[in-house]
Symmetry: C2
Subunit: 400 residues, 2 copies
Amino acid sequence: MLKSLNVGELTPKEEIHARINKLKAKMEEQGIALAIILQNVDLFYFTGTLQKGVLAVSVDKGPVFFVEKSLQRAAAETPLEITPIKRDKDIKDILSGLGMLKGRCGMELDVLPVLVFERWKGILGYDNIVDVWPLIRDLRLIKSPFEIRQIKRSGEIVTQVFKRAKEVIREGMREVDIAALLESEGRVHGHQGFLRMRGLNQEMMNVYIAHGLSGTVVSGADVPISGAGVTHAIPQGPSENRVQRGIPLLVDYGGGYNGYITDETRAFTIGELKDIYLKGHEVAREIIEETMDFAKEGIVGTEVFTKAFLRTKREGLDEYFMGYGEGKVSFIGHGLGLEINELPVITPRHEIVLQEGMVFAFEPKFIIPGEGSVGIEVDFIVRKDGLERVTDSPINIVYL
Amino acid sequence: MLKSLNVGELTPKEEIHARINKLKAKMEEQGIALAIILQNVDLFYFTGTLQKGVLAVSVDKGPVFFVEKSLQRAAAETPLEITPIKRDKDIKDILSGLGMLKGRCGMELDVLPVLVFERWKGILGYDNIVDVWPLIRDLRLIKSPFEIRQIKRSGEIVTQVFKRAKEVIREGMREVDIAALLESEGRVHGHQGFLRMRGLNQEMMNVYIAHGLSGTVVSGADVPISGAGVTHAIPQGPSENRVQRGIPLLVDYGGGYNGYITDETRAFTIGELKDIYLKGHEVAREIIEETMDFAKEGIVGTEVFTKAFLRTKREGLDEYFMGYGEGKVSFIGHGLGLEINELPVITPRHEIVLQEGMVFAFEPKFIIPGEGSVGIEVDFIVRKDGLERVTDSPINIVYL
């Protein structure tokens, strides 16, 4: 039945097994005998399905993939053998029977709520459970060719949305009206529906529009530009602000395909822009080009940040770089994958060495208080000999 | 600056203070001296702003509202005095200085990740912290006139979207194409952007389209109908399935205004429907009417469920009621508010007594395996003398 409904390219069997084997190797290194995985995205990564279930991996046994529901859908999607359960309490006896309940146990302590965690300690009979997320995070950091393919397909949606933006943005339109049209365009072209961001209170939209003052509103989130939103209950995203001539309008769009996220920003304008905007855009463009000139496998993330920052300083734009005042954020890039806040983070502090297969969004942006914002965001795949762009969408200012 | 951007009706000052005072009273009853509130929705409920911050409430002191950022936006939105902080570690000294770090402490243990919780135990110097969520949940259960106003405005968006659905649905369209247009329609008419669902792995969309087989796919989530989605990475929502004559198409749409969620479903069709669908819709309609005839303040939720269930049994439809086989769920209604999974839940087990100001979605639905699904969802406000519909949108099958 699902096949007739066409629900995306499945993760290859070999890749699922390779991921689990890599996790086992990391667990052995860290002295973790058993990992119990509950979060939906991690479950999807290791099983290829996002149904209600639990994955148990031990260094020398398993995996055992318990599925509560839908058994039918999980079976159609995962290459793993399924152990059906009626409730999560049934798991202890099975794991115990398999001799898997011994040694140090790890769970995803970065996302697991306290009450869920306490319940699972009871179910499994463990007093202490350590954090297994750093191991999973480091695995998810390096994307396979299969994953890069999904990311590029996700990028095609982004490219399509920017093309459409050129057709629809008109003077006097509200930011929300533009967002509504672009949201629709992405969906029709295969967007998965929403994007995922890991952690407590992390929320996001698919489309952000920042134009003039709305692009200068300081966000409660750790982002340089979030827009004002239409309500203080969701203080982000497009607002009712209307498009004016001579002020850049940034479209920040998140593609999503088969789970994989892309995230790029382009600047559009009706009429000529003031010098500060033109200069900001030009410096952002040059930072992207300079970064592509030197960054590759082996380069450290802090160097990427520092070179960009020094460039903005030489240009006298450092005050506006990645926000101003209380709104300034300390990164210029963030990892992409099944979630939008993956590693690597490109900051002055994160000493991560770039490696083939890492994917990150790179977003030199300038926020000019009382005026507006300008900048560009592109997505990069790290290769041995350089950075590869995810999309081929041009990064110039689009004059409408 | 924000004022010029128009970002929604603020929560009245008196209401914010009343909510905090009610929390204090409940804390006193439960022997909780101090509550530390971190989750964004609860913060919004008690402060009127959703910026990055922490609210400390003690039974005899406070509240102290710590804000990290944006100070400017928080100050424009909350009636509470703001205590600016650079980082959450600064909080201990301030609370200690105010004599608030004594007695039993409570936090939102249902959503707080283990690592965040451990960090906060360290910051506050507490070994044991109890769960304060049940107190907050019970407060949020009863909606004020201000909240009902937001919910009705949210319902107006739903009404508008159903009107638009009548205009756009055509034979041969894909479910995603319909969803894209309706998503856009809602946004243009004031939808806040996304809806919130509390808890680990809880995810949702604004628009669900279920038509024929896609309406029979068993969901991993605790919902009767979720659709197939366009990818196994997000196994819910509209699919690429195309509209055919003679099969009901359900539009399940979530309104969102100023934080407040509504959630209704209507059936559309091109051409005549088989008897099973007509009967299913008719029984759903009668269940809604019968429920409106007797339910009001003082009636128990289990009675509402049981009456509906017995009706489906008399009609020989109980096998299909709220799903079939592994997909059957055990509720016919769920509470609405700032999150879509609030209390009351209308199930055979939850012995909640209905009370003026409760708001819930009520969704008699039938899923016929191998065929399709049919049903209706409406939102009710509990009043002393009956149930009030949130919207006035008609519930008949719409023939296109």
